[in-house]
């Protein structure tokens, strides 16, 4: 315990190493006409990530969480083994998705960043900034641009650090922690914008998205989700706590917004409560709204619509479309035309009992009889939703949208004495289970489902070009499933369920899968050649 507390900022980085590396990197760069070790993450790399990187929260701007890597495939997945494990030696669960740039992994829990060698799992540096204020509910990861990291804090600051050693360059305020805001999200870098959102629905506060200058930290623009607090008959809320996606051709940023406040009492905020519980398209250069689509009009169940807005170009019933797909927390799967926000498909992907169906524009119609009431309403899904912040994955070969679903029921209460501020009611989960579902995006039909345990799993999903889907179950097993049919090809027990989304990269010809469980980060890979031979020998001996 004491040693953890002392570990507030420690650098293990040997400056001689990068200098030597830089010299050879320059030589190699000249030879290959391509920077191999730059420490500079440029826009080109963010637009077209190389296989030796995972340079942004989702891995690329599309949010598909799909890797082109194929070394690990259906034939050899059964041989996967632990390459290394990194112990953070602190109690917070890892909920972040690591970045991988220039052979270094960067991942977080609240107040902490670790930089870890991606080949060995050895610590390079650790940054610790204990915030005495703000919610420490979780942390999703950092963003990187050129040689700098961008880190959000429980007390709602945005901090820029040197990726080499974790030294702070500047510290800016995203929101006022005293009002009740906090931040957990991994910012998104688009061109010369660092875009960060906020959390905070314990109070009636407006959500917003803010863009910062990557060099100076100056605010470039702010887009407000709702009118200011105190506007008559208007909702507040719409927190922007998950990383969005970006289409460079349309130059549009896609973002999901959270639930309105007061949370369970909808009476003071009649109407659709725009743009809470919505998917919005913004111009990343000025923050101007291009279009918005209400996913849960007049939400009264805390179903943030912040799940990944996944961007897919492809066929939809015979016509080519630029699509946006979301498995939303409210239980509906949405396919939109992302050029204009028009609906292509809205369909439940599990038990949903709170709506009267879907209107012509593709919005679910909330059933007023299912709003929280003094004597309780039985609601599916529960407040955690049919899925939550952990990422789904889109597999281009099969056209399957794979999501960790959570069929569930709960009871929701609200009465006048609960007031009209913050939570304003109470709800209680009754039952739920975890099911990995493969959704046919053109019809919404569930092609296969794979049960992952009572209660639910909480793991995100990543698919590979070799036909694998990596995820986890509710018991702490990491799973490799066959994307086409959901069959288990490999598993490893880690002792604690995954609360994050897997990533993958290839270094020195070896593909790694990174997962986390509890407070430990795991790297999985096929045995190296020497080990593989040893394994064969030992097999023969048996």
């Amino acid at each position: 315990m004491l040693s953890r507390r002392f570990l507030f900022l420690r650098s293990y980085f040997d400056m001689k190493l990068p200098n030597n590396f830089l010299i050879s990197a320059v030589a190699l760069a000249i030879a290959c006409a391509r920077p191999l070790f730059s420490q500079d993450l440029e826009n080109a790399q963010l637009l077209n990530p190389t296989p030796d990187s995972w340079p942004s929260y989702h891995g690329d701007y599309s949010g598909r969480r799909h890797t082109r890597l194929t070394q690990i495939n259906a034939q050899n997945a059964g041989n996967l083994t632990l390459a290394w494990a990194f112990q953070t030696n602190q109690p917070a669960q890892i909920k972040s998705s690591p970045l991988l740039v220039d052979g270094v992994l960067y991942f977080t829990v609240p107040d902490n960043i670790w930089a870890v060698d991606a080949r060995s799992g050895h610590l390079i540096w650790h940054y610790y900034r204990p915030a005495t204020k703000g919610d420490h509910i979780g942390h999703r990861g950092v963003a990187m641009y050129k040689g700098w990291l961008y880190f959000t804090t429980p007390d709602a600051h945005l901090i820029s650090l040197d990726a080499k050693d974790g030294k702070v360059r500047w510290d800016k305020t995203i929101a006022d922690v005293e009002k009740g805001y906090w931040t957990t999200m991994a910012p998104l870098v688009v061109k010369n914008h660092v875009i960060a959102g906020v959390g905070g629905d314990l109070d009636n506060l407006p959500g917003y998205l803010r863009s910062f200058d990557p060099e100076s930290g100056a605010t470039q623009w702010q887009w407000d989700v709702t009118p200011p607090t105190g506007t008559p008959n208007a909702a507040t809320g719409g927190m922007t706590w998950m990383t969005g996606t970006y289409d460079p051709d349309l130059n549009l940023l896609y973002w999901g917004t959270g639930n309105p406040t007061p949370v369970l009492n909808g009476a003071p905020r009649p109407g659709d409560d725009l743009y809470t519980c919505s998917i919005v398209a913004l111009n990343p250069d000025d923050g101007k709204l291009a279009w918005g689509f209400s996913v849960s009009p007049h939400d009264t169940h805390d179903w943030d619509a912040v799940e990944t807005p996944v961007l897919v170009d492809g066929d939809f019933h015979g016509q080519r479309h630029k699509m946006l797909m979301q498995t939303s927390r409210n239980g509906y799967f949405f396919v939109l035309d992302r050029t204009n926000g028009k609906s292509l498909l809205t369909i439940p992907y599990g038990p949903v009992n709170w709506s009267l169906g879907v209107d012509k524009q593709g919005h679910p119609i909330p059933n007023r009889a299912k709003e929280p009431a003094p004597d309780g309403r039985l609601i599916a899904p529960d407040e955690g939703g049919l899925t939550n912040y952990r990422a789904p994955s889109f597999d281009p070969k099969t056209g399957l949208f794979i999501v960790d679903a959570h069929p569930s029921y709960s009871i929701y209460f609200a009465k006048p004495a609960d007031g009209a501020y913050g939570w304003a009611g109470a709800d209680y989960g009754l039952w739920g289970k975890g099911v990995i579902e493969a959704i046919d995006y053109q019809t919404g039909k569930i092609r296969w489902s794979h049960e992952v345990g009572a209660g639910g799993s909480g793991a995100g999903v990543m698919t590979t070009d070799s036909g694998l889907a990596f995820t986890g179950d509710g018991y702490g097993n990491v799973l490799a499933l066959e994307t086409s049919n959901g069959k288990t090809l490999w598993h490893a027990g880690t002792g604690s369920p995954m609360q994050s989304s897997p990533i993958s990269y290839e270094l020195d010809g070896r593909q790694y899968i990174i997962t986390s469980s509890g407070e430990v980060l795991f790297a999985w890979a096929l045995p190296e050649r020497g080990q593989s031979a040893a394994k064969q020998t030992s097999t023969k001996l048996h």
Binding site: T132, K133, F413, W423, L430, W431
Partner: protein, 361 residues
């Protein structure tokens, strides 16, 4: 973890240690410094009392304007006279302890005034507006920790929020005057209910407990403005309709009897707890029969089941497990009938069934 419980209580109740925590942080107490800068002039404790002046000058930067401490780094000093003798306090101030610097240059008069100030009654916290019902500085320190670690689920006022219940109505909280049971839940979590365990120091835990009890007291003082669900809220159903549902479409009689297992159920549970158990009894046992490759059958209580492992506890309590691909197994899980009803209930069915069960006294 369980073995140290007794010790833990001892630590909580007797050693809200001045010394043991002081050394834990090496960063600048920025937060504390800001509080000092913005503290209004004429603070209740500054002014005429030389001990208070000395405290404000030397101690408040770390231990807080009101002696409430700044956890987790700096312990509260309220009630320090219950934990340390005047001599020990004097010695600690003079020589320092751990990371806490010593103040050898204080003259005897100032030192004794300071010690006197530290050992007099708790300061009034009337200036701390937003939480006027919090009675002690320890609870105030706990509030900060509660906001960081607990408020997301239990609400910032401990009266319930996202996924977490109202703690001011919790039976465990209401019955746990010493804080022992709350401390256990904080340290060990409740894995069945997805509450994580927290690795906090004894001082931190006791401050959180003080805050929860302060909120409980505040809630009792202000009835009516409460969240949570009262027994009276759950009286909208019709007993006769509930009985019909129980006997008919609910299919409850397949497993239950109002004169058998459910006789007197409404005396054992009430209100929300009864309704939750009615809808889905958590922790209900399943049984399993495992057939080994050789054809041997073993039955017992299902202890674990995932894709890869099935385990049971047999009649003498022994835990046995098998890889699922080496055996055949059959699970009997009567509680599944509750999950199957979810998609069939109307809200009226739920309320009527509840009305009927409440007659089973």
């Amino acid at each position: 973890m369980n073995k140290v419980k007794g010790l833990r209580v001892l630590i909580i109740s007797t050693a809200v240690a001045a010394g043991s925590l002081v050394i834990q942080f090496t960063h600048e107490p920025i937060h504390a410094a800001r509080q000092i800068e913005t503290a209004p002039q004429g603070n209740a404790n500054s002014g005429k009392d030389p001990g208070a002046e000395s405290y404000a000058q030397h101690c408040a930067i770390c231990h807080g304007d009101q002696r409430q401490g700044i956890l987790p780094g700096f312990p509260p000093l309220i009630g320090i006279n219950h934990r340390m003798t005047d001599d020990t306090i004097t010695e600690t101030v003079h020589a320092g302890k751990g990371r806490m610097p010593g103040f050898p240059n204080l003259n005897n008069g100032e030192l004794s005034a300071l010690v006197h100030f530290l050992t007099i009654a708790e300061p009034s916290l009337q200036g701390s507006g937003a939480h006027g019902n919090v009675p002690s500085g320890i609870a105030e320190a706990g509030e900060a920790l509660f906001r960081q670690n607990c408020a997301f689920c239990h609400g910032r006022d401990a009266m319930g929020g996202e996924t977490g219940p109202d703690l001011t109505e919790s039976k465990l909280v209401l019955s746990d005057k010493t804080g022992e049971k709350i401390a256990e839940v904080i340290r060990e979590g409740r894995p069945d209910n997805k509450m994580p365990a927290f690795n906090l120091s004894s001082e931190e835990v006791s401050s959180i407990i003080a805050f929860i009890h302060a909120r409980e007291a505040a809630a009792v003082e202000r009835p009516g403005g409460r969240r949570g669900v009262a027994v009276a809220d759950l009286q909208t159903g019709n007993v006769e309709a509930g009985r019909k549902y129980f006997d008919g479409p609910g299919g409850c009689v397949k497993c239950h009897s109002p004169n058998g297992d459910l006789a007197g159920v409404a005396t054992r549970y009430e209100g929300l707890q009864l309704e939750e158990r009615m809808l889905y009894p958590r922790g209900a046992k399943s049984t399993v029969t495992v057939t080994s490759a050789s054809g041997q059958k073993i039955s017992g209580t299902l202890a674990y089941l995932d894709e890869f492992t099935v385990a049971l506890r047999d009649s003498v309590g022994t835990y046995r497990s098998w890889p699922t691909n080496r055996v055949r197994y059959a699970v009997q899980s009567p509680v599944d009938a509750h999950a199957e009803l979810f998609s069939k209930y109307t809200d009226d069915d739920v309320h009527n069934l509840m009305a009927y069960l409440q007659t089973l006294r």
